[in-house]
Amino acid sequence: MNTINKLLYFFLPMMLLVGCADLDLQPTNMIGEDAVKNDPKLVEAFLTKIYHNTGWETNDQAGKRDGAGTNNTHWRFVDWVVGGEGTLMAPWQEAVKASTAIPTNGGARTSLNYWPYANIRSANEILQILSEATFDPETIKVQSAEAKFMRAFMYLELAKRYGGVPIELVPKQLDASYDELMTPRSTLQATYDQILADCDAAIADLPGTAMSGKATKWAAHALKSRAALYAARIAKYHPQSSDGLTSIPASMANGYYTMSHASASAIIDSGKHPLHTGGGTYQKTYSEVLTKKGNSESIFVVEYDLGLGKTHMHGYFLMPDGFKSGWGSNAHIYEHSVERFDYKDGTPGNKNRGLFNNKAWFDIEEVVYKRDPRYLAKAWTPEEVYAGRSVWYHDRSAGAGTLKGRGGDVVPNRAPSRNRNRGGRLAQNRVPLDGSYEFIPYDGDDSDFVVFRTGEMYLNAAEAAFEIGKPVRAKQLVNAIRNRVGMPAKQVIDLAKIKNERFCELFGENHHLWDLKTWRDAEAELHMRTKWGVKWTRRKSDGMYKARRWKWNFSQNTAFLPKMYWLPIGTAKLADNPNLVENPGY
């Protein structure tokens, strides 16, 4: 039987091998459901996912790296451009497209949309897990409050875009009835009330201090102050809609203003987050508000860290031509935005408009460098010295001479093309003034993103105080903000002044578009507005400049129709949930 045996030795193992392939494999990156329920560390990791996915900079995702090696969508400065503060280098950039497109019933451009229901469901799931959890009650309380804080933030982002939205507070199950699943839109008032209720719960249970990047009692106050302010403005300035989906009864305005004022004042009065000071110069102090990690004014931030590979690209896009690593000079400020910044002596920001006639020679020290330090901190200016070199803007040089620039460097005949060809004013938001960004790598910016800061709270409180008949309080608050940057105090206050102060203080921080919408000022400010840039000429002999204004061609045709105060829900979502109603005009 030798041969048979030999053969069996070969064929039998083969049969065994065929039979033994194990089909009951498990994927290597999963954790079972039950493990999560009873482990606060895993709940914490799930909660961290909500932080990660909330999108605190919703329309401003500048090519972020999140440590996983993945780059997020390349949207940048969308709110900034759509809100008419400035524009970008090229018309194909998403923000410019978003600003020129008129939304249809197909929905708004993706970069404007925000539909975080998956993340809201996660928050609801966590609240459910925590309601049954048996571990440390204090941990349960704080984790629940964090989930509610983030849920409120997401609903506010929804409400400011679409008006009233479907409100989900529990993770529904698949066996729920049709009517239960097809949640209709709540009224805008109910939506804001839900946001404010979550804020109140978060204020009650969140600690006063926490790790940077985590929600605190003060972050919840800040959210409440902003939400209540928006609700109050809508109640006061928007026409009533019959279904209440895009309006709030006017009678509610006072109450919301009062709430906004109270929460903002709570932060201001607590002294936990005083306005940042001590940067040496007004300009530097103000710049540090956004660029110095852990400054006292930061109430809630999203942290970044180059070493850990979590970065964004703001600095890379904002560094001017001549410094950059290859992009840069991407954001250009319109003249009408520049003119809203007064001069240091309190004279109006548009007083020199007549000089821009391409004939008169003037001194930039007077015309440019005497403006509000907040402008100087947030804009690149002609011959601004950065890291020992000058930022050049001049389209051409006149005459002869070898006079060096403000940085003591040799002056080129013409500035680098992207500085001279576009607006002649460049945004510098979030670029620190210390010269550290001279050659910033492609996605190497790790400044934190400030979601809530005390400056906004002063202005929220000021506006609310003014609206509920406390102009003295309003004036004090505005002047406190002005005092921090050395601007002269206002002697009288009115709503226009408060609005302008808000524009200057919060320039480039994703507020203006939503301020215009909630104030119902957007048609007046944005619709088919002529937008101006500047072309500079430098005289070689004495460094004097002349300049002319010119029209920004590709941004001329931006329409803002009344329907655009609210973004469309869109046919896809309406088909998905037949109980929904589209916003008017779509």
Partner: protein, 1048 residues
């Protein structure tokens, strides 16, 4: 007594009974066998009729055999008609070619079959036919080889030049090399014996992975055509160039186009030192040493013609008990970039051994090893092309001092030239190793006649190792008008960072298999049965490490780099599958053929409930020409009718979708500057998720007439693809916050036909063959789960709208390739025309419309342009029609073959906008096209001469409304190209004999020789085979090759 001796005795007894003839008188006869042209035929089987007594002819066609008096000899050889002849002392037999190749052996799933007994639609391609031109990989060679096979090249970049192959326009087919799933990169074309393409239910035997058809590649083995060794050397030297590339216009035209016609700022067009006046032009001329013609960046980065070399040496033969095929190959493919910055090399070896261990036991031992190395500058193809396309002709690509990297003058000015130079950008090295070993043992069961058992074990390991070294390099602006040399070059910015990333991706696969075959015949009835049990287990381990800022690029290794930013990762995954396969073939009188197969497949990707799938098939063949009523019809050499039906699957659609739980994310979130881990809910799960099911029916008719005067093969098929996974639209709305799990709900289908014709003939001394093929295939959505807008419970106007919307865009019942868009009617040429335009084109009273925008036709006349005005403007990128013709002619020692190949029934989309990104365009429209079709502004600002492209009347403007899909940008395309032309010459035998060679062939082959297409203004700029992404990929290539083939 051991069993061996028992079997030996039984065998001897049987042999004795079968060879009773041996006792009669014996004659020794000898002779030669040759083909119709007098060439000796080695390996012809010569058998004394009615006995098992036989031999084969040797290399020179000679044979010798002892036969009985008055015996009849049968001469048979694949590809030739079997002959009978009475034995005589000295025989000279001429074998006639079999025009219908009925005896040819075709590889099918888990075995082989004679062509005459095939019941499925199987195309067979010989290795010799595909090797008429050299190509770096086999995928490129399949073009035009089989009806119903669509092959399209996308890029000619070495290492990234695999063609897209589709059987009958299905998705990617399963590719199997010698029984194991593989890729085209894992086989040297020279090693291929033949390729079979299973187009219908013939693929069913591969079960859950076969739904899109199967390509079987079989490598060469030791020959059984006589003893001895045959060496073959095949060497080629090719010169290749790009087929098409968009050109940049000269500096003068460029400035005219931009400044005069487009109203663009001069500053955007010119480097700072150069202005548009005579004085500055002189500066330019002095600097460049030439007139103001500008430079074409493509001239700087591309070499005109580059070299590819291929060498393959193989030995093939048989000794007493061992048959062997040994091959070694080397391929060096250059790109059109500098050789120092881009090399692609492949080394491969293969050994296929067949051993007879004893009378009943044979073994196969196969081994193959591939090593492919891509070594290139550290550039990303997309970034490279963006910069190349936007490089301004007015800017210098190379400065007088070349150590200063130039910039293009465009918005993102990283010079493409420096991106593709290793000394500036760093390097990327990819090394792929593939090692395969297989051993199988076949036992011819002696006590059950016709039964064989084979046990085999395949092992494979594949390692992809990748290292990228990224260098930060500075770019400079250049201004020769400045005085001091330090100012002439000004640092502009830097590109990239200093960093090193190394990763390795290692796969291991183990595949044991047990096969039992049984062949029997009783008179007119022939039965072949097969049973296979096999399993696969697969493990993958990916490891990555990266750091930044190496201390020095002299030592570019991770451990000598900064620890400040370091990263690493490991990903492990595994999978397994198990299968049982059965097949029964039965034929009656060689006329009626039946085949039935069944496969059971299980994979770990699915839950226990959905894990096992069963895939049966049935097919039938009727050889009409064997029937009595046709047998004597001299016109018909062969006529066969075939029909088949089979069920297959596609299981690569889901991976562990049936599990619930939490996924651990790769990313993290920061608190207090520290990374915190993230887990997220895996979402709702579908425990019953399973594979797609494909049901395919095929009817075929094939025949040969007039001794090869006409051959044809026609197949018509229908495939239903069911259980396509999708998230159900019904059920939960978006506000639920989680989507339903994917469910097997959707259904699509495909239909079409393949027709192959063949004509063989001879005119004088020239024998020739013409082999045209044509095929058509197209798909529909049969039932598609989608949102249907309500037509009830809404007001009548909405209902009518919704009904129209549903009828138009609902997929169910529609062709799957429809492209909707607007018909256009020229451009707006003046503001007054816009102001008086009766149709609202932008839903905002034409406020946002600008001069130069396309005029869309208001199809329904409602005064507003919206979706209702859309019409079908194209058919998608996949050609519905594929056609080709092989023509081969032979005259003495000369032979010529030509392959014309083409396609139609598809559309090519040239960009989303008719305008272009200023002049530093990286949109689809090359400046040459823009210039040739420019419009010219009249004195009053209106456009006087409007040809095709509107002016961007605003700086870098994109007319938003013209962005919509339209018939101006989408071209319904066709093309026809001379894909291959091969002229070869066999050195006369008198010469080769002197050299001691058997055969010496010289050949000249062309690839992509000439092309006709209807791309209109884009003709000559883009390859019609490429249907999208024109601006961001490396073009296809054409080549001329000289080759040398030696047999000795």
């Amino acid at each position: 007594m051991n069993s061996k001796n028992i079997f030996r005795r039984l065998f001897l007894l049987a042999a004795f009974l079968l060879s009773t003839n041996l006792i009669f008188a014996q004659n020794i006869i000898s002779g030669t066998v040759a083909d119709g042209e007098g060439n000796p035929l080695p390996g012809v089987s010569i058998v004394e009729k009615g006995t098992s007594n036989g031999t084969v002819s040797d290399f020179d066609g000679n044979f010798q055999l002892n036969v009985e008096d008055g015996a009849t000899l049968m001469f048979s050889y694949i590809g030739y008609i079997t002959q009978e002849a009475g034995a005589s002392a000295s025989m000279n037999v001429i074998m006639q070619e079999d025009v219908s190749r009925l005896e040819e052996v075709v590889v099918v799933g888990y075995g082989t079959q004679q062509k005459k007994s095939l019941t499925g639609s199987v195309a067979s391609i010989s290795g010799e036919e595909i090797n008429l031109r050299p190509a770096p990989n086999t995928s490129q060679l399949l073009m035009g080889q089989a009806a119903g096979l669509s092959v399209r090249s996308g890029s000619g970049l070495p290492g990234n030049d695999f063609a897209t192959i589709r059987i009958r326009n299905f998705e990617a087919p399963l590719i199997i090399v010698d029984g194991i799933v593989a890729t085209f990169g894992q086989v040297d074309p020279n090693d291929i014996e033949n390729i079979s393409i299973l187009k219908d239910a013939a693929a069913s035997i591969y079960g859950a992975r076969a739904g899109n058809g199967v390509i079987l590649i079989t490598t060469k083995r030791g020959t059984d055509r006589g003893r001895g060794t045959k060496f073959t050397y095949n060497g080629t030297l090719s010169m290749s160039a790009l087929t098409y590339e968009p050109r940049t216009i000269g500096a003068n035209d460029y400035v005219n186009l931009g400044f005069n016609e487009q109203g663009q700022d001069k500053g955007d067009l010119m480097p700072p030192y150069l202005d548009w006046d005579n004085e500055r032009m002189q500066v330019y001329n002095v600097v460049t040493g030439e007139d103001f013609v500008g430079n074409d960046w493509r001239d700087i980065v591309y070499e005109d013609w580059t070299l590819q070399t291929q060498h393959n040496l193989s030995a093939r033969g048989r000794s007493e008990d061992i048959g062997y095929f040994i091959s070694i190959g080397f391929t060096d493919t250059e790109s059109q970039l500098r050789k120092a910055d881009y090399t692609h090399e492949r080394y491969n070896i293969r050994t296929n051994l067949d051993m007879k261990l004893n009378d009943n036991l044979t073994a196969q031992v196969d081994m193959s090893y591939f090593q492919t190395t891509l070594d290139k500058a550290n550039f990303d193809t997309n970034a490279f092309y963006t910069r190349l396309n936007s490089g301004k002709p007015t800017y210098l690509a190379e400065y007088p001092d070349q150590s200063y990297a130039s910039h293009t003058g465009a918005a993102s000015p990283y010079s493409p030239m420096y991106q593709v130079r290793k000394e500036f950008s760093g390097s990327i090295v990819n090394r792929d190793n593939n090692l395969r070993g297989a051993i199988s043992l076949t036992y011819d069961v002696p006590f059950i006649s016709g039964m064989k058992i084979t046990g085999s074990l395949n092992m494979e390991t594949q390692t992809e190792w990748n290292k990228s070294i990224s260098k930060q390099f500075p770019m400079y602006t250049y201004d020769p008008s400045l005085s001091t040399s330090s100012e002439i070059y000004t640092l502009y910015g830097t590109y990239k960072r200093d960093a090193i990333n190394v990763n390795s991706d290692r796969d291991m696969e183990l595949l044991p298999k047990l096969t039992v075959t049984y062949d029997a015949d009783w008179g007119d009835n022939v039965l072949n049965a097969l049973f296979v049990a096999e399993s696969t287990s697969f493990k993958r381990d990916y490891l990555m490490g990266s750091r930044t800022d190496p201390l020095s690029f002299e030592a570019p290794y991770l451990n000598y780099s900064s620890r400040a930013e370091l990263d690493n990762a490991e990903i492990f995954s595994e999978s397994a599958r198990k299968s049982f396969v059965g097949r029964v073939n039965y034929s009656h009188k060689d006329r009626y053929l039946f085949s039935a197969t069944m496969r059971a497949d299980a994979t770990a990707r699915y839950s226990v409930e959905g894990r096992w799938g069963y895939f049966p098939s049935l097919s039938f063949g009727w050889r009409i020409s064997e029937e009595d009523f046709m047998k004597d019809n001299s016109a018909w050499n062969n006529l066969k009718f075939r029909a088949s039906y089979g069920i297959m699957g596609n299981d690569a659609v889901s991976n562990f979708d049936f599990l619930t739980g939490y996924n651990i994310a790769n990313g993290f979130y920061l608190f207090n500057g520290d990374p915190y881990p993230i887990i997220s809910s895996a979402g709702l799960a579908n425990a019953l998720v399973t594979w797609e099911t494909m049901k395919i029916a095929n009817v075929g008719l094939e025949g040969t007439l007039w001794d090869g005067g006409l051959g044809f093969e026609l197949d018509v098929f229908y495939r239903l693809r069911e259980d396509i996974l999708a998230i159900p639209t019904e059920g939960v709305p978006f506000n639920f916050g989680a989507s339903l799990p994917r469910t097997n709900i959707n259904t699509r289908d495909n239909r079409g036909f393949d027709l192959m014709l063949k004509h063989q003939g001879k005119i004088g001394a020239v024998s020739y063959e013409i082999n045209p093929m044509i095929s058509w295939a197209r798909g529909k959505y049969v039932s598609w789960d989608e949102n249907i807008l309500p037509t009830e419970g809404v007001d009548s106007a909405t209902a009518a709208n919704n009904a129209l919307y549903n009828a138009r865009y609902a997929r169910t019942g529609q062709w799957d390739d429809l492209q909707w868009g607007f018909n256009t009617n020229g451009f707006f040429t003046s503001q007054s025309q816009i102001d008086s335009h009766p149709v609202d084109a932008d839903n905002a009273g034409n406020q946002t419309v600008i001069v130069g925008d396309l005029i869309f036709i208001d199809q329904n006349g409602d005064g507003i342009i919206d979706w209702k005005d859309q019409v079908i403007v194209g058919k998608g990128g996949m050609p519905k029609w594929n056609y080709s013709t092989w023509t081969k002619a032979r005259w003495g020692n000369w032979s010529v073959s030509a392959l014309f190949q083409g396609a139609t029934g598809y559309s090519v989309n040239f960009g989303g906008t008719t305008s272009w990104q200023g002049l530093n365009s990286h949109q689809s429209i090359p400046t040459q096209v823009a210039y040739d079709n420019r419009s010219i502004k009249g004195a009053n600002g209106d456009i006087e001469v409007l040809r095709r492209f509107p002016p961007a009347n605003n700086t870098g403007g994109v007319p938003a409304i013209s962005n919509r899909a339209n018939d101006f940008n989408r071209i319904d395309a066709w093309y026809l190209r001379l894909k291959t032309l091969n002229v070869s010459y066999n050195i006369p035998k008198s010469v080769t004999d002197k050299l001691g060679l058997e055969q010496l062939q010289l050949y000249l082959a062309g690839n992509n020789v000439i092309t006709f297409d209807n791309l209109g203004i884009y003709h000559g700029l883009y390859d019609p085979e490429v249907t999208g992404g024109h601006q961001g990929s490396y073009p296809t290539t054409k080549s001329w090759t000289t080759g040398l083939k030696i047999n000795f």
